[in-house]
Subunit: 347 residues, 4 copies
């Protein structure tokens, strides 16, 4: 392949948009030809994100002003709700990698229940492929419209889905205690995300009501072969990036923690971005910061018949922009790791 | 009461020692007459902790050099193991408030199993009173030797013990996902506690092996009226102070989450330092930083028959030094809140 | 004195308002009878600041609804500009401790230049006393209207004013490199104060244009006995509280750094809240967090004839709410340290 | 060029070593064939730095065990003092990129004075080239032994050296207020670098005694064409990475701040890693985190005849490992930006 893909990024002024630009700028076969950010239209990207000012990039425009001719792929980093309306208006055949929640839920009533309105592009939902690259690779390769998973679902599904598929854990007793850095909330300006409200403290939020829950249940249910419900409790941690889910599960099928670890290790052995740690080593977000990697630990629980599965990602990379690029690579037949080779930044 | 209590603080150079000094210095009926710190013997306290340099305090000495005549109460902030040997040598009748783990476990084989050696002052164990002030007030009032609880047990027991006593939760399905600031590890100089190893990240630690576990099980078992085992999984959060436990419990006795909240609210209504939040408000460590308070939330779980109980404390205050002073107040018949009226520091 | 002062706090929902409430609640002779916060009128304070929810406090009202009868003192934590209009409408004779910048600048054209509008209560300016307690104690004691200094001026003036008065440093070569925690910017919701925009980074701001500059120049000029101009360059540090100014000065009058330290030490010897550190010890914000203290270091510069004076305060306490209470104590003939005995919180 | 350079990294277990490995692993023409870390000899690198565990790397060995045959270049990240002894024993002709201070000071008595011992490889000093790539490019290209600058000198010299060379600032009135993240102190385990000692605070350190001072003076003097002395005052900031120097200078040669900015802008126009910001934009460490970039602002001072030059780098990259790789590229005739294209990580 010698020509570069011509890429559009819609909603480039959010943190996921900025991380897309950061990563795409180093992708050998990607050229960003179109960046939209309606509130910042007219500005150069480097004014909205000074850390990107060294890049030569097209000026930010409104999405209504976009010229789609010659665009090969669209990354869509727009808010929930808006996304479906805009994606519905894109030229037919244009490949779309959506980072919003709009096309993640296959059941439209579930979407309406959790997002408060009827879906506005229901005809597109059936063709949308859930873009958890490792679990859905072949479908992604054939897809035109990929719905990238949320950050919490990514960390959780990589940890639990293969175990459920293999019948090694009980579907009806899954507790997911999740912790996220503050970028998970995006760049929207809210009092509770101000430095002084977050630093030097820890708080749970959205307990029992976080919108990533139905998505987790849908995909875990798919793995288990039947519907299920989980406990999912997120917490806000005073750090920029990083997400860690601590999953408390009941073992099934005669498995113990070691067996569970072995199965996961084999499942991900060939995966470039997922690593199951040996017994005794614990996943931490420091191991993945800034990278597209996921690390997973399986720990024996003191409670008989139970195990703890811990999974860590960078919420902006594997949990969002990095996985989106991984999906782009799959959709265009490129090596899956292209542009995603950056190692974690530590410290 | 007109005369001040004459106080000794053993192990004044640890973080709990320093916070004891910070709080005792503002206690109207306490006078610190003796401070020990063997590694820093000879120095003024203000050299070891410059934030305390404005205080007039006795110079740090080795504990072997202490003159106990005229001392009314001893706070013991020494390492595990050492404590029992030193407490055994203190003058008879001297009231001791111990912040170590040495006298917390009533079962001596359990102590030996978790701490790696036989107890060296087993004759003292029977008289030690477990000093969770709110749950054990009368025994503390009569005690000579109080074993103050660990920080995690304090947060956990305040959240769960009354519910177990009342038969509202199942004893055999308790999962405690705990998160702590870094002061919980003390001032010992270790690579994994360096700024750069902790900041901008989150990690679990001591999964299945944390020494606060047997203490939690002992006291929860006491509340339940029988032995039990729990899952207890701590995580290290990049903040100085604060501890939050998220407890996943199965309801019993026909209770729902609202009933559980009501029972806890009534239980703590008269308590000056514990507050159960109304439905819809979530406990956070920001609410308690620097103070002796504990805030508790009870949340309905989406999983039927389950609830989430969340409890937040400052690990150095209610989780250690503050509760120790609360116990001193009880032991000497002083108003329980003396010296502990400081409000949380936020931001 | 047996009766409590009846206190009003206007603008209680800002960080300075909240810290006023935190400190006043522990003041033995203060009773908060009136709290205003126009945007939050009708709410309990504990809803706006959950860390204060244990307090029994009057509900927040609009300032227009206030009943001033029986109020002894008003703390005014309102925005610049609004303050002067409201203070002008308060009952005559009511003692006012203003935390805004509205009455700090004695020269009205200077005010207009820096704040962009003519002063709206110029008749009040002459009676306003600049409330840097240590430097202006007698005037504060007699004052009805006290203009509390800004945080940067407080740290800077305590470090430099006595040296200028004594002719030990040159007035025309003063460089003040200032660093502040994020609470210095208040609770206003702005993108550049979001956690992710601040954490893990450092940035200068308002270089050459910060509004604390004319205030510093006015008061340093007063100490020097003539007008002067300074370089003042603030930086935003990823921490909640704390302010440190590093002042680069040229020595005068034959002084060296040791002489300068000696003079400052003697000047503050009897002061309860200001401490000049011995040679070799360096001021740090960790020494003052949460307290009304200021620590000052004087260091010999390698450049001949120069010295470095470093001063650290908690910007919300000595830099704002604490000093305001210190001034209240002075205005009402109370012991100056009442309600301000809290020691720094470290870590 | 088709063959990869065979690289040895001595002292791979420090933070600079780890960042070297992180960057070299993505360098298209570098292959790490030898990693030493005497204290960790025998371990895989991924055990010492779990974020690097996905890399295939040679196991850590003691440097005494190294086989130098076939090695093309050595990065030396060893402690000061040790370095000179080891470098002296390396095979002749081997290209060495040293990150320590051992070969930075050309004057041996100055070395002895600041480092407390006579230099142990004085014969090597004359051939050492000071490796500030932008200022010394041609010499680096021809060098066998490059002494990479310290982090503070890098940020300072990029900001000031061209101005001194052009006679635009006075050599005798330079004040450098420097602020650094904690990685600048390396991975050595010390109490004052523990999380709780650093977080939520700011402190100056090494005032008047920091070892980067003679290096700054040597190189600024070289630019000025005569000896000079500067004030250099570093501060420790609670962040991992990032360094910002705020330089207060007196203008010379009829220059004003705009002229100074223009000269710097032109000087660095063709440089891939250095950018002078337009008037009104302020350098911040957020703009460079994780990257090899340096951003510089020039600001008019309110004091007549003065200016402020602000420079920001990532201390581990442009301040250490990144610049070392930049020098390797120069020494081997590779494109200077190879392996260093990573953009800053923000947030």
């Amino acid at each position: 392949m010698t020509e570069k893909l011509r890429i559009a990024v819609l909603g480039a002024s959010g943190y996921t948009g900025a991380d897309l630009v950061r990563l795409l700028a180093c992708h050998p076969y990607a050229e960003m030809v179109l960046l939209t950010a309606n509130a910042h239209a007219g500005k150069p990207m480097g004014q909205v994100y000074p850390h990107l000012r060294s890049l030569k990039l097209p000026r930010l425009i409104k999405w209504e002003e976009a010229d789609w001719s010659g665009v090969d792929a669209v990354f869509c980093g727009l808010p929930h709700g808006t996304t479906q309306e805009i994606v519905a208006q894109l030229p037919e055949g244009l490949k779309v990698i959506d980072l919003s929640a709009d096309f993640r839920l296959t059941d439209l009533p579930t979407y309406a229940q959790w997002y408060g309105h009827e879906h506005r592009a229901p005809h597109l939902q059936p063709e949308a492929v859930y873009g958890l690259s490792e679990l859905n690779r072949e479908a992604v390769q054939r897809a035109r419209l990929v719905a990238c998973p949320g950050c919490y679902p990514t960390a959780t599904l990589l940890a639990l889905a293969p175990a459920l598929s293999a019948g090694l854990i009980e579907p009806d007793d899954i507790i997911i205690d999740a912790k996220s850095g503050v970028t998970g909330a995006g760049r929207s300006v809210k009092e509770n995300l101000m430095f002084c409200e977050v630093a030097e403290g820890l708080r749970p939020y959205g307990v029992g009501s976080h919108r990533h829950m139905p998505e987790i249940e849908q995909e875990l249910g798919r793995a288990a072969g039947r519907t299920l419900a989980v406990n999912f409790t997120p917490h806000l941690v005073p750090m920029n990036r990083g997400e860690l889910v601590t999953c408390y599960v009941r073992l099934a099928g005669g498995a113990d923690a070691d067996r569970l670890r072995t199965v996961l290790t084999e499942r991900y052995e060939a995966e470039p971005f997922v690593e199951v740690l040996p017994a005794g080593e614990l996943a931490a977000t420091h191991m993945v910061r800034g990278s597209n990697r996921c690390v997973i630990s399986v720990v024996k629980d003191r409670l008989p018949g139970r195990a703890i599965v811990i999974s860590a990602i960078d919420n902006l990379v594997k949990g969002s922009s990095g996985q989106a690029i991984q999906n782009m690579n799959l959709m265009f037949g490129l090596p899956e790791t292209l542009g995603l080779e950056q190692l974690p930044l530590f410290p």
